[in-house]
Amino acid sequence: MVRRRRLGLRIDLRSIVVCVALAVAVIVLALVALATGSYQLSVGQVVSALTGGEAGLIHEIVVEWRLPRMTATVVFGAALGVSGAMFQSLTRNPLASPDVIGFDSGSYTGALIVIMLIDGGYLEVAGGALLGGIATAMLVYVLAWRRGVQGFRLIVVGIGVSAMLTSVNTWMMLRADLEVAMSAAAWGAGSLNAVSWDQVALGGALIAALLMLAGVLSRPMRQMELGDDTAASQGVRIADARLGLIVVGVALTATVTAASGPIAFIALAAPQIARRLGRTAGITLAPAALAGALLLGAADFVAQHIAPTPLPVGLITVMIGGGYLGWLLFIEARRRL
């Protein structure tokens, strides 16, 4: 008895320690991001700019450029982590992300249409991405609906619709002028180069609301992980909970995608990394959110410093996320056998 209780305590402690450690890492990284950049500023100048002591370009760079970008990495990263956690829990598939239902390819199609056919501005691109993504997700859901939505059918329909949209995207990229195609590719990789307060404020508010909904859904989510029957016997309304998870998961990704393009791999890697760090059996939302924020923050820092000129952050998220997840798997496999 005593032994078991101690074990339970230790597991709880471990996940708390992991959460705190992740949070500290996120904060440290955020401060480093504020203090570094191609425009040389001393820590004193940065602090003074933050407290309103600087005017002109220095104020502009710290408060209008670096601060919103840093905020975006934290908020968007958390959103992606949670969104991925929900989908992985829902499909019980460690490789699932909202892309399963075609959201990413759909939003890319929407954005490409706006960028290439109507030469739209930032808001139009965001709108096009949102519209394209949601329309695709709904189409996949409807096509997969046959007296209820069943996981396997959802995945197959999602793969099919995604494949078609990816073809459309490839075709548009081929037809476009090189400069337009490259700019679209940067959007498609996911880039934070364009974020400003407008987007962060709007996106952040939406994400905050959605994260609260996610908190409400986390209990039925954990129960459903034990099996639909078990959950139903505990009073979970399976169909509603499932739809809720899909809608909130998609909405989180959609918000990030509209603001910065489909930043890849965080939704996939963050929950897995969090689960392995916490050594928990199931998917948990809070560590996934923190891991997402940390991943995106780290990736953005690397993206701005690794090459002579900055890279879209999405290129780095796949490399860091993929590399780290691979490393964890490697260690795990070695230990297990």
């Binding site: 425009y39 030469d119 037809r175 400003s196």
Partner: protein, 317 residues
Amino acid sequence: MIIPSLRRPTAVLTAALLGVSLVLSAAIGASAQETRTIDADNGTIEAPANPQRIATLGRANGSFLALGGKPIAVTKLRQGDFDALLEDQQAAYEAATLLGTSASEADLEKLASLKPDLIFISVPNADFEQMKEKLEAIAPTILLGFHSDWKRRVEVVAEASNKVDVLNKQKADYDQQVAAIKTKYAETIKNDTFVEVGSGEFSKVAVFHLNGSTCTEVVRADVGLDIADLGEGGQSRSYEQIGALADYDVILYPVDHKGNVTEAFRPMTESSAWQALPAVKSGRTVGIYCPLDRSYPGNSRYMESLDRGLAALPKDE
């Protein structure tokens, strides 16, 4: 006309005084941040009258470099656009700080730290809108729409960067060159039908283009070649339809700055169908060099290649 009058001492004195006062006023003007209004695609811009530190992004790179400008910061040029520049222009490009590969991913903090006094940018609308406020916080920014007419683009760049005289010289040289070609090859131009075939870019998978390069319009409008107007971008055709080229007297095909057939077009020239075309058999093909980025010097390079190619054509029987 002016020189004889300078023999008179008073005239010399007047001229000297005038010169000094001009220099002085220019110096004072610069120090007082005198401005001029530029009519750009992002509205009417108050730009410094005598900008010294100019940064260029996107398609504005080539426009400014071709005028002999020395930018302090640029975004990346394609190899083809770089090759099209003259040696000193290439040196000017390489001396500039590279901000990023594409304008939308440019490092604007780096740009800010270089303290430019004027920024030229030519990018798609979506890109500009997201950079607008940041750029304008750094320096007056002149947008030239991505799809804007290249002639207007170079004119605005020349005006805002004090290089109108350079532009006029380039224009005059080009007109002279075109006139010379028109007289030299009057007969060919009158009698032969032309087709321009190209696949300047790799992205055109499995197709070739008829009369699709930006230079087609130049030879039709400026030189007056008999070459069909198939609309902007020309017409893309499957490789299978290579036989359609048999209907023309002379075929223009794309070569690089060294005169070799471009890599993207090479598979086409290696097919037996190409070898069997009457124009190819009789040597009536012209390799033309069409720089992607449009400018008068670029057009001049194009005319040079046309001149060389037409000169090498076998005479009509």
